[in-house]
C-alpha cells in the first residue's frame, strides 16, 4: 500500500430510499493524515454518506474503499477488522448508558480482547485525561454527565483504539459556542496526536474552518465543490457562497423539496 493512495475513496456512490434519491454519485478522496470536512444543509445526504462509509447502510451502487478495501463487498468479518482502524464520534455521543464511563471508553479495546480489564481501565483514564476529563469521571454513568462532557467521553472512546481514521458526525451540534470551540480544539489536537485521518460532517462553518484542511460541499447528493479551506471564500460557486454566509436567498431553496 503506497502513501499516495487515498485513505478513503468514494466513486459514484448512489443511495435511494424508495423513490427518494439521497446520494447521486458521490466522489470523494481523503488522503492519509488530512482532515476533510463535508458541509451541506439538512437533508443533503451528509449522514447517509458517513453511514455508507461505515457500512451501517449499504450503498445501492458505486464503490467505497477504505485503505483500498471495498467496504461494500467486505464480509462481516472483514468489516469488523476494518472497523478496528476506525473511530467514530456520534452526534448524540451515543454512549452506552448501561456501562460506566471508563468501560465506554475502553469498549473497543475490550472487544478486541487485546488487553485485560485492569489495563483497559488505565488506558481509559489516560484517554479521558487527553480530552480534559479527570479520573473521577471514569466511574460515573453517562447519564450523570452534561452534553459537553458526553461529547468528550465520546471523543475519548473514538481515539481509545488509536484509530487510523476518525469520523465526526456534527461534533458541535447542541453545544454552546464556548464548548463547541473546546471540542473543535480537542478534535484538532487529538487527531494530530494519534496521527489519524479525519472526516467530519457538519453544517457549522466556524467548526469546519477550524478543523478542515479541505472542505467538500454536498448538495442534492453530489459533491459540488471540493477544495482547500482557505479557498472556500473565493469559490465563485453561488451555492457555496450562499451556504458559508448563511443567506436565505440564493440558488439553494430550503423546504421546497418535491
Amino acid at each position: 500500500m503506497n502513501n499516495s493512495e487515498p485513505k478513503i475513496r468514494l466513486r459514484g456512490v448512489h443511495k435511494a430510499f424508495g423513490a427518494k434519491t439521497v446520494l447521486d454519485g458521490v466522489e470523494l478522496d481523503v488522503n492519509k493524515g488530512e482532515s476533510v470536512v463535508i458541509i451541506g444543509g439538512s437533508g443533503s445526504g451528509k449522514s447517509v454518506t458517513l453511514k455508507c462509509i461505515l457500512g451501517l447502510l449499504e450503498a445501492d451502487s458505486g464503490s467505497i474503499e477504505v485503505d483500498g478495501e471495498d467496504m461494500a463487498r467486505a464480509s462481516d468479518k472483514d468489516r469488523e477488522r476494518i472497523n478496528t482502524k476506525i473511530g467514530m464520534l456520534f452526534q448524540s455521543a451515543a454512549l452506552f448508558d448501561s456501562l460506566p464511563v471508563w468501560e465506554n471508553v475502553a469498549f473497543g479495546l475490550l472487544a478486541q480482547k487485546k488487553v485485560s480489564r485492569k489495563e483497559a481501565r488505565d488506558i481509559a483514564v489516560a484517554k479521558l485525561a487527553q480530552v480534559g476529563l479527570s479520573s473521577g469521571v471514569a466511574g460515573l454513568s453517562p447519564a450523570e454527565l452534561s452534553g459537553g462532557m458526553q461529547k468528550r467521553v465520546g471523543l475519548a472512546r473514538a481515539i481509545a483504539i488509536n484509530p487510523e481514521i476518525i469520523f465526526f458526525d456534527e461534533p458541535t451540534t447542541g453545544l454552546d459556542p464556548i464548548m463547541a470551540d473546546v471540542i473543535n480544539n480537542l478534535i484538532v489536537k487529538t487527531t494530530q496526536d494519534v496521527g489519524a485521518t479525519a472526516l467530519t460532517i457538519t453544517h457549522d462553518m466556524v467548526s469546519a474552518r477550524k478543523i478542515a484542511n479541505r472542505i467538500a460541499m454536498l448538495y442534492k447528493g453530489k459533491i459540488i465543490w471540493f477544495g482547500p479551506t482557505d479557498e472556500i471564500e473565493q469559490s465563485n460557486n453561488p451555492y457555496v457562497d450562499q451556504f458559508i454566509h448563511g443567506r436565505a436567498e440564493g440558488p439553494i431553496k430550503m423546504g421546497l423539496r418535491a
Binding site: 451501517l56 467514530m88 456520534f90 451515543a94 478486541q112
Partner: protein, 258 residues
C-alpha cells in the same frame, strides 16, 4: 377495483414482516452458536430474567394453585369426586398453567424491558456505535438475551410448579379439611415425569419467544420515543399471542393420541 388495493397492501406488508422476522430469527440463532460469547452479559440477563422474576411469578403461581383447589372443590363436590382435587391441581399446574402464566408474566416484565432498552439504543445510535467498535450487535445484544431466556424459563417454571402445588395444598388442607398425608400421596402418585418435562420444554420455547420478540421489536424500532413505545407494546402483545398458539402446538405434539 380499488377496494382490493388495501387488502393487497396489508397482505404484502404481512409477507414482508414475516420475512424480516424470519431472517432476524435465523441470524439470532446462528449468532447464539458462534463465538465470541459474552458470558458476563448472559449471566446478567439470566439473573434479570430468572431471579428478579421470581416474586411476580411466585405470587402468580401460589394464587393460581389456591384458586384451582377452591374451584375444583366446588365443581367436583357435585359429583362427589373431591378426591380428584390433588390430581387436577398438580396436572393443571405442571402441564399448563405453570409454563403459560409464567411465560405471560415474563413477557410483560422482560419482553417489554428488553424492547424498550434495545429500542432506545437503536434511536440514540448506540447500536450503530457498537458496530463501529467492532462488536456485532446481534452477538452482543440479541444472542445473550435469547440464550438466557431459553435457559432460565424452565428453572423459573419449575419453581412456579412447586409453589403452585403448594398453594393448592394450603387451601385443600387448611380450608377444605383434607388429610395432609393423603393429599400429598394423591399428588405424587398421579404425577408422571412427562407432565413436568413437557411443561419445562414449553417453558424453554416461551423463553425463546419472549426474548426474541423483545429483541426483534426493539432492534427494528424507529422514530424516537413514540417508536420505542410502539415497539414495547408490539413485543408484549406478539409474545403473548405466540406463547398461547405455541402452547397449543406443543400440547398437540406431546399429548395428542394419548
Amino acid at each position: 377495483m380499488n377496494f382490493l388495493q388495501p387488502i393487497g397492501r396489508v397482505f404484502l406488508n404481512f409477507l414482508a414482516s414475516t420475512g424480516r422476522l424470519g431472517l432476524f430469527t435465523g441470524s439470532a440463532i446462528s449468532h447464539c452458536f458462534r463465538p465470541p460469547f459474552y458470558f458476563r452479559i448472559i449471566v446478567n440477563q439470566m439473573i434479570e430474567i430468572g431471579y428478579y422474576s421470581l416474586p411476580v411469578v411466585g405470587l402468580t403461581a401460589i394464587f393460581t394453585g389456591m384458586i384451582l383447589a377452591l374451584q375444583s372443590y366446588t365443581g367436583f363436590a357435585r359429583f362427589s369426586a373431591e378426591g380428584a382435587i390433588a390430581n387436577v391441581v398438580v396436572l393443571s399446574i405442571t402441564r399448563e398453567l405453570g409454563p403459560v402464566l409464567a411465560g405471560l408474566m415474563i413477557a410483560g416484565r422482560i419482553g417489554a424491558a428488553m424492547s424498550a432498552e434495545i429500542g432506545t439504543m437503536r434511536v440514540t445510535e448506540q447500536i450503530d456505535a457498537l458496530t463501529t467498535l467492532s462488536t456485532h450487535p446481534m452477538k452482543y445484544l440479541v444472542a445473550p438475551r435469547i440464550l438466557a431466556g431459553i435457559l432460565m424459563l424452565p428453572l423459573v417454571v419449575l419453581i412456579a410448579d412447586i409453589i403452585g402445588v403448594f398453594g393448592g395444598y394450603l387451601i385443600a388442607v387448611y380450608k377444605l379439611g383434607f388429610n395432609p398425608a393423603n393429599y400429598l400421596k394423591n399428588t405424587w402418585d398421579f404425577l408422571q415425569p412427562i407432565d413436568v418435562i413437557s411443561g419445562l420444554v414449553k417453558a424453554s420455547f416461551f423463553g425463546f419467544i419472549v426474548t426474541l420478540m423483545g429483541c426483534y421489536h426493539g432492534y427494528n424500532s424507529k422514530g424516537g420515543a413514540q417508536g420505542v413505545g410502539t415497539a414495547t407494546t408490539n413485543a408484549v402483545v406478539s409474545a403473548s399471542i405466540l406463547i398461547l398458539s405455541m402452547d397449543y402446538v406443543l400440547t398437540e405434539l406431546f399429548f395428542a393420541g394419548k
